[in-house]
């Protein structure tokens, strides 16, 4: 019975419907594995055994009755930035370490309606601010491929859980690469849809003009299955877009003949790890075999993505995180004098160092006399970057390159140098600034056996085609079938 346990979402749906396994059996076995892996990986903040098994029993009943929704009985996990009614939601911060969400996020409700079973909440960088999952109040997550290395961030717990075959899929959120970079570093798929396709309602806000819900899975097909349940208009998010419903898996099987792949020279320059460069070249050769052609494109302003992001995201964060004042929810200091002192002590105690740095950066760029020089300037350069992509998509359908400049780094290697840490997101940030979709897919391993991801970006609302392009690659390669040693032992 080992097979359905480590199957993909599509595989588990088939096994559950064929009654090869019950959801209670599947969920219980995965909970055992999650609990066994927790001391090693620290991928979860909260594990909800009782709640999960109750949902699994309900799914089994629906499957027996023949009225089960599309993903009935499939166990998944949610990043702990997404609100889950009645279940602790912490953002991996001391500030919210005892916070129980009063309602479900829109994407959480969508996946619940689709029948998924929620096993728990995954660890993350505090308030999604980080690229290594080392800023969590609950301690770092470890990479299943080598536990001395980071899994990436900020959605590091979700990535590690999927890579370690603890769940077939998990949600994430992507503000500057927080889905794609950890997907790359853990050898799985991570999709950031077009901004506005998935509602941000119930996603605890970091940078509202960039925050995008998405998901991790091992295959592009599974990403499409989850996106079907997560997408859709939601009047509770004023930036949620009204669009016709679509099946994001409808084009998976389309051939790639005639596909034009844009290669920005800016993604293939100095500073790329040689193993990463070789893996991406090999992946591009595979695409040419599948019938695609490649064309050089120019994104001259994309190198400014990191400085633009580190103005806009902290500015929005400093505003969004002002709500954590120790009055209505969250941490309140034990000892304080007047109201101002209560605010200052509660926030000083409740936030970690990286979150404070970003709030202070944002406060500075928005403060009197600096707004035009920083915030307005960054928004203008954001436009220049978006214009680069508009021009590039006149020449190509997809843009490909490495997701991150290098594979995973050792825990502790970059914690003292925020700028080096920020540069990890050099290739991922642009898609957040423009709002267009992007996916990271497994594309090989480095000489140490650490995964390498390839990023595929495409134009607004082309998720179905993007997943098709990723899926066809996965049909022709087996990178996504490789499992970390710890999983091979657990499944044998």
């Amino acid at each position: 019975m080992a097979e359905p346990i480590t199957a993909t979402v599509a595989g588990q749906v088939a096994a559950l419907r064929a009654r090869k396994i019950s959801s209670v059996e599947l969920t219980g076995t995965l909970l055992d594995r999650i609990e066994a892996a927790q001391p090693v990986l620290n991928a979860f903040v909260t594990i909800d055994r009782d709640g999960a098994l109750a949902q699994a029993r309900a799914a089994d009943a629906a499957l027996a009755a023949g009225n089960a929704p599309p993903l009935a009985g499939v166990p998944i996990a949610h990043k702990d930035v997404l609100m889950t009614a009645g279940l602790r939601t912490t953002c991996s911060s001391r500030m919210l370490s005892n916070f129980t969400a009063p309602y479900d996020a829109h994407v959480v409700a969508g996946l619940k309606d689709a029948g998924t079973v929620l096993v728990g909440k995954t660890n993350m960088d505090e308030f999604a601010m980080g690229s290594s999952n080392e800023t969590s109040f609950f301690g770092p997550v470890r990479n299943p491929w080598n536990v001395d290395y980071v899994p990436g961030g900020s959605s590091g717990g979700s990535a590690a859980a999927v890579a370690a075959r603890l769940v077939p899929a998990a949600t994430g959120t992507d503000t500057g690469g927080s889905i794609r970079q950890p997907a790359s570093l853990t050898g799985i798929c991570g999709l950031k849809p077009t901004y506005g396709v998935c509602s941000r309602y119930g996603l605890i806000a970091f940078a509202s003009s960039l925050d995008t819900p998405g998901m991790f899975a091992r295959t592009a097909e599974d990403c499409g299955l989850l996106l079907n349940a997560m997408a859709g208009h939601d009047p509770r998010d004023s930036t949620s877009l009204e669009r016709p419903r679509e099946d994001f898996t409808r084009d998976l099987a389309l051939p790639l003949a005639g596909l034009r792949i844009g290669l920005p020279r800016e993604y293939f320059g100095d500073g790329i790890d040689p193993d990463v460069a070789a893996a991406i070249e090999a992946a591009l050769a595979e695409y040419r075999k599948l019938g695609a052609t490649t064309v050089d494109v120019a994104l001259p302003n994309v190198k400014l993505s990191v400085p633009v992001y580190y103005v806009i995201a902290p500015a929005e964060a400093s505003s969004n995180l002002s709500r954590f004042d120790g009055v209505r929810y969250g941490h309140r200091a034990e000892v304080y004098g007047d109201l101002l002192d209560m605010y200052k002590k509660s926030r000083a105690e409740g936030f970690g160092a990286e979150v404070k740095r970003r709030i202070l950066t944002g406060t500075y760029v928005l403060s009197h006399g600096y707004y035009d020089a920083y915030y307005l300037k960054a928004q203008q350069v954001r436009r220049l970057i978006a214009d680069d992509f508009t021009r590039a998509y006149q020449q190509c359908d997809m843009i490909m390159g490495p997701t991150a400049p290098a594979p995973a780094f050792r825990i502790g290697d970059k914690t003292d140098d925020p700028v080096q840490m920020y540069l990890n997101d050099i290739f991922t940030i642009a898609a957040n600034l423009t709002g267009a979709p992007a996916i990271s897919i497994p594309a090989g391993f480095d000489r140490r056996g650490l995964p390498i991801g390839m990023q595929i970006q495409s134009n607004y609302f082309t998720e179905a085609r993007l997943l098709n392009v990723a899926h066809r690659f996965q049909q022709a390669t087996d990178w996504h079938l490789r499992a970390p040693v710890m999983c091979r032992e657990a499944t044998s």
Binding site: T100, P307, S322, V327, R383, P418
Partner: protein, 95 residues
């Protein structure tokens, strides 16, 4: 436009985050490095470029001016640090 130590104390006050001298020094050195990176933007000519505040150029939707919210005070105050009689408790602000 170099950020000074006094700026760090000023913005920490604006952000309502208590900061001691040692922490301010540490934050100052890190912010200087971050702003050295951010200041690359100053070299870009953005004359006449319309700022991009948002990924989609759409108008914010309007809804009818009717009450839609339900009374959820008890639910929401259930997670508050200190409440009494439906009110959030804070230190006295009016003498």
């Amino acid at each position: 436009m170099a950020l000074t130590l006094a700026d760090v104390h000023r913005i920490a006050h604006l952000a309502r985050i208590e900061i001691d001298a040692a922490a301010a020094d540490e934050v100052h050195s890190k912010l200087l490095a971050i702003f050295a990176m951010i200041n690359e933007l100053q070299a870009v000519d953005t004359t006449g470029i319309v700022p991009m505040a948002h990924a989609q150029d759409v108008m914010l939707p309007l809804r009818d001016d009717v009450v839609t919210a339900q009374d959820q005070r008890a639910l929401y105050q259930g997670v508050a640090p200190a409440v009494d009689g439906g009110l959030y408790l804070v230190p006295r602000v009016v003498e």
